[in-house]
């Protein structure tokens, strides 16, 4: 394997007693859009701050093109960053904000003017040079911040939840802009968010952070189709989890038994487990099919319909298993059952065996 463009090598950061990140290991290719996704306090922002040089790791190294950047102070790392909060310089106009990184680099006037113009064009804010930041909307301010972070052509751009202060519609609009800018500039982007939809929409690959560690790295479809851990399965997409225990394990497949003795067979098992261990069955709602008959190979469960909600493109059923666990099932509009399902109906949910996942608990 060749040397990766950006390599995060065993980064560990301890604040007093608290381990913020623990042995974070990640390789990022040049021009890649990598997102750190995880709940707050999962260590994703700490990792980004270490990259920016605002914090020093307790152990580990970060290299760009094989060279460690840790001994270089923040202002010499030549890294671009867009922050969660609005960080435009309040006393400078938009043009001067974008020109700031070039001025501290003592660049000539004509070069500064040309680059500022190009950067503002990139974020679609041409002609806003003389506007003061206080006179701009939150979305515009973050676009100026993006122009300021890109104007000096940094090899890596860090983005720390840059859209979390914006409302949903504006957020989607700027996500689209960020994608376009990534394609136009080819800059390597490390993006931190706790919003899975944002991560899926933007990223080439996603690193899922939990409790200071990376749980899994992969493209959106990989993570969705093949979550390595219970946490990833829960965090990406909404899934149904049914708690039970392992009845038997053979190779990478397992049979699960639930509280009332119902079993399902041949479920792909993640991680190792023994018969008798507590485990959970995970099902993606769109992979579940509702039928009047049980499915083959034990890949089905009987359910009782408790309530129906019509949501336009689908009808969502609240259902209950024989042992009393709740789960929701979606029926697409036009599904033959959608029109005549009623409360109290006893039906079966079915799935193709490889669409289910079993996770050992603990």
């Amino acid at each position: 394997m060749t040397t990766p463009y950006l390599h995060i090598n065993g980064i560990r950061k301890v604040f007093g007693e608290v381990v913020a990140t623990d042995h974070v290991e990640l390789s990022i290719a040049e021009g890649e859009f990598m997102t750190f996704l995880g709940p707050s306090g999962s260590g994703k922002s700490t990792t980004l701050y270490i990259l920016a040089g605002f914090q020093d790791p307790s152990a580990g190294d970060i290299t760009i093109r094989g060279k460690s950047i840790l001994s270089t102070p923040s202002h010499k790392r030549n890294i671009g960053m867009v922050f969660q909060r609005y960080t435009l310089f309040p006393h400078l106009s938009v043009g001067e904000n974008v020109a700031f990184p070039l001025r501290v680099r003592r660049m000539g006037k004509s070069e500064v003017d040309a680059r500022v113009k190009r950067a503002l064009k990139l974020v679609r804010l041409e002609g806003f040079e003389d506007r003061m930041p206080a006179k701009m909307s939150g979305g515009q301010q973050q676009r100026v911040a993006l122009a300021r972070a890109l104007v000096y052509d940094p090899p890596v751009l860090l983005m720390d939840e840059p859209l979390s202060a914006l409302d949903k519609k504006l957020r989607e609009e700027i996500q689209f802009e960020i994608r376009r800018i990534h394609q136009e500039t080819g800059v390597t982007i490390l993006y931190v968010t706790h919003d899975q939809e944002e991560a899926l929409r933007l990223s080439d690959r996603i690193a899922i952070f939990n409790k200071g560690k990376i749980e899994q790295v992969g493209t959106g479809p990989e993570l969705y189709a093949n979550p390595a851990t219970h946490f990833v399965a829960d965090f990406i997409g909404d899934s149904a989890f049914l708690a039970g225990e392992l009845a038997s394990v053979s190779g990478e497949r397992a049979a699960l038994r639930f509280a009332d003795g119902t079993t399902v067979a041949a479920v792909p098992l993640h991680g190792s487990g023994r018969a008798g261990q507590a485990a959970e069955l995970m099902l993606r709602p769109e992979r579940i099919e509702l039928a009047t008959e049980p499915g083959p190979e034990g890949a089905s469960l009987p359910v009782t319909v408790e309530d129906m909600t019509f949501l336009g493109n689908n009808t969502t059923l609240a259902a209950r298993t024989p042992w009393g666990a709740a789960l929701s099932v979606r029926l697409n509009f036009g599904h033959p059952l959608a029109a005549n399902v009623a409360r109290g109906d006893r039906l079966h949910i079915r799935w193709s065996p490889e669409a289910a996942h079993a996770f050992v608990r603990g």
Partner: protein
């Protein structure tokens, strides 16, 4: 709103009347002294029988008045510079610092505001007696700095609190060294606070009289002290002229301060 001014009916006129009377009450002494400074009666008769500029001519012809004004200006300028410089450092520690006893320290820096000035004056007088600072420029500056600093600390910490430190981080990632970031971003961004602190510090020193009376010597006195001592010797309209000039400078600086505040909120 319950007490909406436009819904008060006849009460509206009463309230407006009270406001007008209050304003007049506050302005009266100032208007009175200004009128007297232009009146041609040596005995300060009001209303003045005629108008003249001779008290101003007398004022500007007397080197003792000019000397006192220059002393005042010199002390106020030094106090202003030191108060802003120290106020900035104190505010940085109080706002950005993370240490135990920060709240206590903050309260401590504000005590000169609530402590009776006469107590500060007596204490300083006693201390300066041993140090030989009474009647010196240094003594004046220290005394005025003590009462001016709390105002600096309040205005500058206020400005600093509304300034997000992440903006400084952004400047550093843009390539500015930490010192460059402070001088090119943080200081300009809180400049309205620095200017307000400067103006208030100057004014506090400029019209401070209690401490100044304790610190003054025959050879070194400020304008308010000169007004005070002249008043005790003979009642001349020159005092009114000097007072008017004090008021004019104060008002001018207050207007500048108000404009800076307005510019900041713009």
């Amino acid at each position: 709103m319950l007490l909406d001014f436009h819904k008060l009916g006849a009460w509206k006129w009463l309230l407006s009347g009270i406001c007008a009377l209050m304003t007049l009450f506050l302005l009266m002494p100032i208007l009175f002294i200004i009128a007297l400074s232009f009146g041609d009666s040596r005995w300060l008769i009001f209303p003045p029988p005629g108008w003249t500029l001779k008290w101003y001519e007398e004022l500007f012809a007397d080197p003792r008045w000019i000397g006192a004004a220059l002393t005042s200006a010199k002390i106020a300028t030094i106090v202003m510079v030191l108060s802003v410089a120290l106020g900035l450092l104190v505010s940085l520690a109080l706002v950005r610092g993370k240490f135990r006893g920060r709240a206590v320290l903050r309260a401590f820096f504000l005590t000169p505001m609530v402590l009776p000035v006469i107590i500060v004056a007596v204490a300083l007088y006693a201390a300066f007696l041993r140090l030989g600072l009474n009647g010196t420029l240094v003594g004046f500056v220290i005394a005025h700095l003590i009462v001016a600093l709390p105002f600096s600390v309040i205005t500058i910490s206020g400005a600093l609190e509304t300034f997000d430190p992440a903006i400084e981080d952004a400047a550093i990632l843009c390539g500015a060294s930490p010192w460059e970031a402070r001088f090119r971003v943080t200081l300009p961004a809180i400049s309205h606070g620095l200017f307000s602190a400067a103006i208030f510090s100057f004014l506090i020193s400029w019209d401070e009289v209690v401490l100044a009376i304790f610190m003054a010597s025959p050879g070194l006195q400020t304008l308010p002290v000169k007004v005070w001592t002249t008043l005790r010797q003979d009642l001349t309209p020159v005092i009114a002229a000097a007072s008017t000039l004090l008021v004019v400078l104060t008002v001018l600086l207050m207007i500048v301060a108000a404009l800076i505040r307005k510019g900041k909120s713009r």
